[in-house]
């Protein structure tokens, strides 16, 4: 099958690849580019483990064909820390024990990041709604909700 060129910005770096037509973004990120932070859980759009941010919107990389991302700006959890310092959401997930096996965590963090980007001080219900497409089988969700609320508080303290 003919390869097609794709070009996009991933976590601030320009990426250009030749990929097989019909390749999912998840497959391209993990197996071509080497960013393994998005996880392949269900490949059905049900679990949210593959969530990434494309042009400011939360999307599922397992259902997105990489050819449709030409020119897009894509963010994944692996691009969040800066100079070895964890992003407030990553820090909060650690501090509140919101991660156990860790498989859902990158997707949860992306979903939470989109929420906090648009709603810096969300209510508990807004956090639950924002995470509603992401499944966690370890934590029972409560520590994750607390982590997002904690990160929001720490962001607003830093901004003050």
């Amino acid at each position: 099958m003919a390869k097609v060129p794709v070009q996009f910005t991933l976590n601030g770096s320009e990426k250009a690849e030749f990929i097989d037509s019909g390749t999912t973004l998840l497959h391209a990120l993990r197996d071509k580019i080497g960013d393994t932070s998005p996880k392949g859980g269900c490949h059905q759009g049900t679990c949210g483990a593959c969530s990434v941010i494309i042009d400011g919107e939360l999307r599922l990389s397992c259902l997105t064909l990489v050819e449709t991302c030409n020119g897009a700006v894509i963010s994944t959890t692996s691009g969040l820390s800066e100079a070895g310092v964890l992003h407030p959401l990553q820090r909060a997930f650690l501090d509140t024990f919101a991660t156990q096996c860790g498989f859902c965590t990158p997707g949860m963090i992306m979903a939470a990041k989109v929420l906090l980007d648009h709603t810096p001080n969300p209510s508990r219900d807004e956090v639950i709604e924002a995470l509603s497409g992401n499944i966690c089988r370890c934590t029972g969700y409560e520590p994750i909700i607390q982590a997002v609320l904690t990160a929001a508080r720490s962001n607003s303290q830093n901004a003050a």
């Binding site: 099958m1 097609v4 097989d20 037509s21 019909g22 390749t23 999912t24 490949h43 059905q44 759009g45 949210g48 969530s51 919107e57 939360l58 999307r59 599922l60 397992c62 259902l63 997105t64 064909l65 050819e67 449709t68 979903a111 989109v114 639950i128 709604e129 924002a130 509603s132 497409g133 992401n134």
Partner: protein
């Protein structure tokens, strides 16, 4: 498995390409890429369109036209489509709503397709390059549809005349046990003068509750007034069985939830 994706600028070219066997139209990917990921070998090629009109929402007075590529998130966030926001938000979680399109929802098999249930209650018109079809006819013939849906159009209901309800076991987001949409008009004395009620998960695709609609005409929205409609709610239904609920369960709870919708 790799799929060949072809991108077209015009609906005409996309329709021509769709004639090739094994070719499916790619909207948001939540149905067709999902099918391919699941190993559906009948999908060998995908077609997509960059035609801008497919991604626009046009509201003129109470007439609404939604391009087929418009996402559930765009509808839920549109300032003039507030009456439909609940139905758009009923679809998936935030990421799915950023991807799932109106056009795709028309093809979503039960237990999916909650927004199409709302469109059926609104008596929407489905447009393709070849012309316009009522949503009821479109849904009945959708399996053989080989033309790209370009838009859906409908008359925007008054906020108090349109009701939507989705029942799921997981909150706030879960797959439907069932969904119900109702477009009701009442006279000044509170009697129902017209009713369109659409049901999701009560067949393999959205369907009208015709017997319940007839039983509502001339009645008031009280427990006694709606009793005949609730008794007739299951007429003609053949609910699906899936991991969410059985055929029996869906049939049992339909009148309960229709009653809640009507008395709300």
């Amino acid at each position: 498995m790799a799929l060949a994706l072809q991108t077209f600028a015009t609906v005409k070219d996309a329709n021509a390409a769709l004639k090739t066997q094994g070719t499916r139209y790619l909207g948001g990917g939540t149905l067709v890429v999902r099918a391919a990921n699941e190993g559906d070998v009948s999908v060998s090629g995908l077609i997509r369109l960059t035609e801008p009109s497919l991604s626009t929402i046009a509201v003129a007075g109470d007439k609404v036209r939604i391009g087929a590529s418009v996402t559930m998130a765009a509808i839920a966030g549109h300032p003039e489509l507030g009456t439909l926001a609940k139905a758009a938000r009923a679809v998936g979680g935030p990421a799915i709503r950023n991807m799932a399109t109106v056009g795709g929802n028309l093809f979503a098999p039960a237990p999916y397709g909650d927004f199409a249930v709302a469109l059926l209650a609104l008596d929407a018109t489905v447009s393709t390059d070849g012309g316009e079809t009522s949503i009821e006819t479109f849904l009945a013939n959708r399996d053989g549809s080989r033309a790209v849906v370009t838009s859906v159009s409908f008359t925007l209901p008054k906020a108090d005349s349109f009701r939507f309800l989705k029942v799921s076991r997981v909150k706030p987001k879960g797959v439907s046990v069932l969904s119900i949409a109702g477009a009701l008009e009442l006279s000044s004395d509170g009697t129902v003068t017209s009713a369109r009620i659409a049901l999701g998960c009560m067949a393999d695709r959205p369907m009208r509750a015709s017997a319940a609609e007839k039983a509502l005409i001339g009645r008031t929205l009280t427990a006694d007034g709606i009793a005949p409609a609730l008794a007739a709610a299951g007429d003609g239904t053949s609910p699906i069985t899936d991991p969410i609920a059985s055929t029996w369960y869906r049939a049992e709870v339909l009148p309960v939830h229709l009653g809640r919708l009507l008395l709300a």
